[in-house]
Subunit: 317 residues, 2 copies
DNA sequence: CTGTTAGCGCCTTCAC
DNA sequence: GTGAAGGCGCTAACAG
């Protein structure tokens, strides 16, 4: 790869002039400008970004540490993030990490000058963060200067209101507390019931069961007395599992039981479309990138992102 | 962030000694070694990798440009790649690109000193590659020094042999030519039929239909005369679509028709498990990383990766 | 064993 | 307008 020295030599000017032409390029005689451009072309010269980084003390690289359990969900994050980042001349450096130790070591490796900032996505464990240029997205920890959380209470409330509007007043809820979000979900659930003057039935709620399939089993075993006709689950994966289980018991979806996913909808052939809350990855990415570019106006507490209600009739796009 | 100068000053030694302690650390008096280590600890000093990169002319960054149509497939690639790369102290810089122009511009941005090498994954269009440190994975173009292709002929042959062994002798094939791989698939298909002394029936093969759902429709319309009892499709997504379509026509899977995916198996609740060819992302990543680390022994033509036969009885793990 | 020097490629003063 | 010099943080070669 040719350097600025090669160009300056070939063009018969000094390095400074070459630099001037390629950056601000104001106050350079047209003749030497042309000479530089010609030499650049000839040598196929492109400034070394590493040398520029050393000088500017910033690389334009954003580290993204994915700590999510459900790997398939990361694709959405990554695609949206990369799209927004590259629009701002920033690069996305990807790491996967499954444990706290892995996250910390990844963080160490990325913050030695390589990355200007780091995002941690979906960590379900507490993190001790010495750095101030770390942003947490959908993580269990919320008491951090920069973090984005999904508004789980709002999602649950919206879900219940929708289900009730569809004539479903016996709403079961299965939501293992992977995230620390269960409490918020329950809050939204109760709030919606209250606002609709519906009683809260403890036996319809399963938040700490080891397996959600066992929870559904319990619901089905007591179906006669419980008489539930809607089921709130944590995400699309759960929804799919649950639908299969319901169908195995000859319960039709949504005829007998309407299944609602609190995160991500289900749009697969051969599986009934279900209502769901969907979080716009695009909105999230936009917010993050704006934090990254305008460092000043970061939030102090957690920033909250609300999801959209998607119903089988209101199809996406 | 503190620099090597801060450390040398605090430790009362020269920069060189600090550097020596932190790298080779041989031939340093124990006393000064301790002093350096103490200063490093105190200042929480870590060498700036960018400065090191400038000197060594390598960043340890590998650019990965994903040009796949099916975004969901990329997760597998990325996870396996990142795992292997980070084991070798290499970083994965991610870009998505949908068109030839986007790939080229991404390539430009990454090869200005930022990335040591670049991988392009799943590009379905021809690429003009001036760089010699670019590796193509599962791309349409094969006439490039470094590329990995999946052995589609082998996959189709294996698939047919398996289906025949299961008593399915009327094997339909739906495989739109997205990849330039259709020809190879057909070759493997024919080969297996030949070796099993079965006739080749042209009307069972659909490789250029606009929509594969139309192709299946044709097959179903002529089911009475064609009498097909197995169906080869390109990937798991297709398989899922096709299964739904078959079930809508009251064809049972695999009872009436055994569906086989030529790339990626289907392991979802509520959907019948099907036989498939699966490519080990891990094996692929390992091969790529070995190319990256031992630059000498690169292949000249395309390197070919064969997939594993996964059947519903031989479950993964 | 250790300090000094030079230079990786670039940009930014500061003189001319 | 333009060139020379200095320095970003680090390591390697060369002296001591």
């Amino acid at each position: 790869m040719s350097t600025i020295n090669d160009v300056s030599r070939l063009a018969g000017v000094s390095k400074a002039t070459v630099s001037r032409v390629l950056s601000g390029s104001r106050g350079v005689k047209e003749a030497s400008r042309q000479a530089v451009l010609k030499a650049v072309e000839e040598l196929n010269y492109r400034p070394n970004v590493i040398a520029q980084s050393l000088l500017s003390q910033s690389t334009g690289c954003i580290g993204v540490i994915c700590a999510q359990e459900n790997i398939n969900q990361t694709t959405g994050y990554l695609y949206a993030l990369e799209k927004h980042l590259s629009q701002h001349q920033k690069h996305l450096l990807l790491r996967f990490a499954n444990t706290q130790a892995e996250v910390m070591s990844a963080l160490d490796e990325l913050t030695c000058g390589l990355c200007d900032d780091v995002l941690i996505i979906g960590a379900r464990f507490p993190l001790h963060l010495p750095h101030d240029n770390v942003i947490l997205v959908d993580c269990a920890q919320t008491d951090v200067p920069n973090s984005i959380q999904f508004d789980h209470a709002f999602a649950a409330e919206t879900a219940c209101n929708y289900l009730i509007s569809q004539g479903r007043r016996q709403i079961a809820l299965i939501h293992p507390d992977t995230n620390g979000s269960a409490e918020r979900v329950l809050h939204g659930y109760k709030l919606a019931l209250e606002n609709n003057f519906l009683p809260f039935n403890r036996s319809l709620v399963f938040m700490d069961s080891v397996s959600s399939s066992v929870a559904l089993q319990e619901l089905l075993n007591n179906a006669a007395t419980l008489n539930f006709n809607a089921l709130l689950v944590a995400d699309e994966q759960e929804a799919q599992r649950v639908i299969a289980q319901l169908q195995a018991f000859n319960k039709s979806v949504p005829g007998d039981i309407m299944v609602f996913s609190l995160a991500g909808s289900l749009q697969l052939p051969g599986i009934p479309a279900i209502p769901a809350i969907e979080y716009s990855m695009d909105a999230m990415a936009a917010r993050i990138v704006s934090w990254l570019t305008e460092k000043t106006q970061r939030v102090l507490g957690a920033s909250v992102l609300r999801g959209d209600l998607i119903t089988p009739t209101i199809r996406k796009r």
